[in-house]
Amino acid sequence: MKLKGRKIVGGKAEGELIVSRKALSFLGGVDPETGIVTDAESDIRGQSIAGKILAFPRGKGSTVGSYVIYALKKNGKAPKAIIVGEAETIVATGAIIAGIPMVDGIDVSRLRSGERVKVDADSGEVEVPEPGE
């Protein structure tokens, strides 16, 4: 099954999903050294986003969060791709400066942590396994 969104930052990636049901703050919410989510309000607190395909509804918090995304990349702990329901300045800017493929306009409630997905950010498409597959 293919979900169609919109390209924010081009590129392709394939990997395991980690899905946050809540908005995510990167500044103070994700440790740039380890990639582990520390946001007290997050439902994926304590889990690592490093090397995963990260999906969440939207970003929140300080615009300094963009720099945290950049630091994750420099430290080798960045997600392989970012999928959001609605793109805003903080995450979009972070993904651009870090060069992480990013797609928005995807209904992230249809995604499950642990699924393997393919992201084609150039065409804005996310390929997810059919139910029962």
Binding site: I8, Y67, E88, A92
Partner: protein
């Protein structure tokens, strides 16, 4: 989004990595917010200066960007820096140096309009720093969105910004009418009104009726408070601000502010003087008029303060205060004017327990950092302080 031939070439990397990344940021934001094109800007104001806020992550980005030859193409000023221990100050100096290498003027203030960076009516600009954005949009009638540090830097480098949000006439119209049916006269009254509206309205464009501000500083203070407790980037004041005549395009919901709303904030920030060990004036940075007022109040008091008084201001205002003799008077009474820095963005936890201030914005932030806070007008603070 439509791009000119030159913009396409920048995006394709023909002019190097730094311009390409900056252009990518602008184009992505333009696409997200539905801009049809980029427009030239006259100036930029960059947030993300204090090492406390940007940390090693931000520094790394700025260093890589400066090393790649990033240079601003319009007049660009900086937000205030932080103050801390020796280790902090070393990092802080390094951050400033990185910005300087990009061609940015190292005037580190949240009131650039009291110095070199003064836009005029109708100018398109790309400013970050919520209180400066509010001042530029509402009081000057210049046009800027609430930029974040990286997007204002990108705009400064390319010299353009995507044409959406508050750059467009239709988004500058009022969305709610506020009848001020309360006594709003002093600095703190205006701060309290702003704080109340920010909390109640979120990101509306309020049209205020019933205000007669005697000086611009009162509106500056109100705007700063509403941009801190909410995300209001533009307000209109009937008979006062430059766009009020064209601000109402349709029938709008009306809310009323009463005396009890104003008093509520004063009561919220009433910690005892015994919990206070510092007085802060100048958030946003003080004007020359505010500095003069403090010097006169201290002279009337006639005996030095037992706790330190800090006035934060831009370097330009400090230089004038020095030249006019206000600094000397203030120092005689245990006060100091400190230029180009900000307590709100400084790691001062442990330096002070409680702060007395006339600023709604800093009252809001210091309370959230866990300090005791007393909010009063400057004349009360200086008369009542130990």
């Amino acid at each position: 989004m439509y791009l000119t031939k030159e913009e396409e070439l920048i995006l394709a990397g023909e002019y190097g990595y730094a311009l390409q990344k900056a252009m990518e940021i602008l184009v992505a934001l333009g696409e997200i917010y539905g801009a049809e094109r980029l427009i030239p800007i006259k100036s930029a104001q960059i947030a993300g200066v204090s090492y406390k806020n940007i940390g090693d992550a931000g520094m790394e980005f700025l260093r890589d960007f400066a090393d790649a030859g990033a240079k601003v193409s319009v007049y660009t000023t900086l937000n205030p820096a932080g103050m801390g221990d020796d280790e902090f100050m070393e990092k802080q100096r390094e951050v400033l140096e990185l910005y300087r290498r990009m061609g940015i003027e190292i005037t580190s203030t949240c009131t650039p309009y009291y110095g070199a960076n003064l836009p005029k009516f109708g100018d398109h600009i790309a400013w970050s720093e919520s209180s400066a954005v509010s001042f530029a949009n509402s009081i000057l009638g210049a046009r800027t969105n609430r930029e974040g540090g990286p997007s204002s830097l990108a705009a400064a480098i390319v010299g353009r910004t995507p044409n959406y949000g508050l750059h467009l006439d239709e988004n500058r119209k009022a969305t709610v009418i506020v009848n001020v049916d309360a006594e709003v006269e002093t600095f703190v009254d205006y701060a309290a009104l702003g704080y109340h509206l920010g909390r109640t309205l979120g990101n509306d464009v309020p049209y205020l009726r019933g205000l007669k501000p005697e000086r611009t500083e009162l509106l500056k203070e109100m705007g700063a408070a509403m941009a801190a407790s909410g995300s209001i980037a533009l307000y209109h004041v009937e008979g006062e601000t430059p766009e009020y005549r064209t601000a109402i395009a349709e029938e709008l919901e009306t809310i009323t502010v009463e005396d009890s709303d104003i008093r509520a904030m004063r009561e919220e920030f009433r910690d005892d003087w015994t919990d206070i060990d510092m007085i802060l004036i100048g958030c946003p940075h003080a004007s020359l008029g505010e500095v003069k007022e403090i010097a006169e109040l201290l002279r009337m008091r006639g005996r030095p303060l037992r706790i330190p008084l800090f006035i934060t201001a831009s370097g330009a205002v400090k230089a004038l205060a020095d030249a006019l003799g206000y600094t000397e008077i203030i120092e005689r009474y245990n006060g100091r004017i400190i230029a180009d820095v900000c307590f709100v963005v400084s790691p001062i936890k442990g330096w002070y327990r409680g702060i007395a201030t006339n600023s709604g914005k800093s009252a809001f932030y210091f309370r959230s950092f866990g300090f005791s806070v007393r909010l009063d007008d400057a004349e009360d603070l200086i008369r009542e302080a130990p």
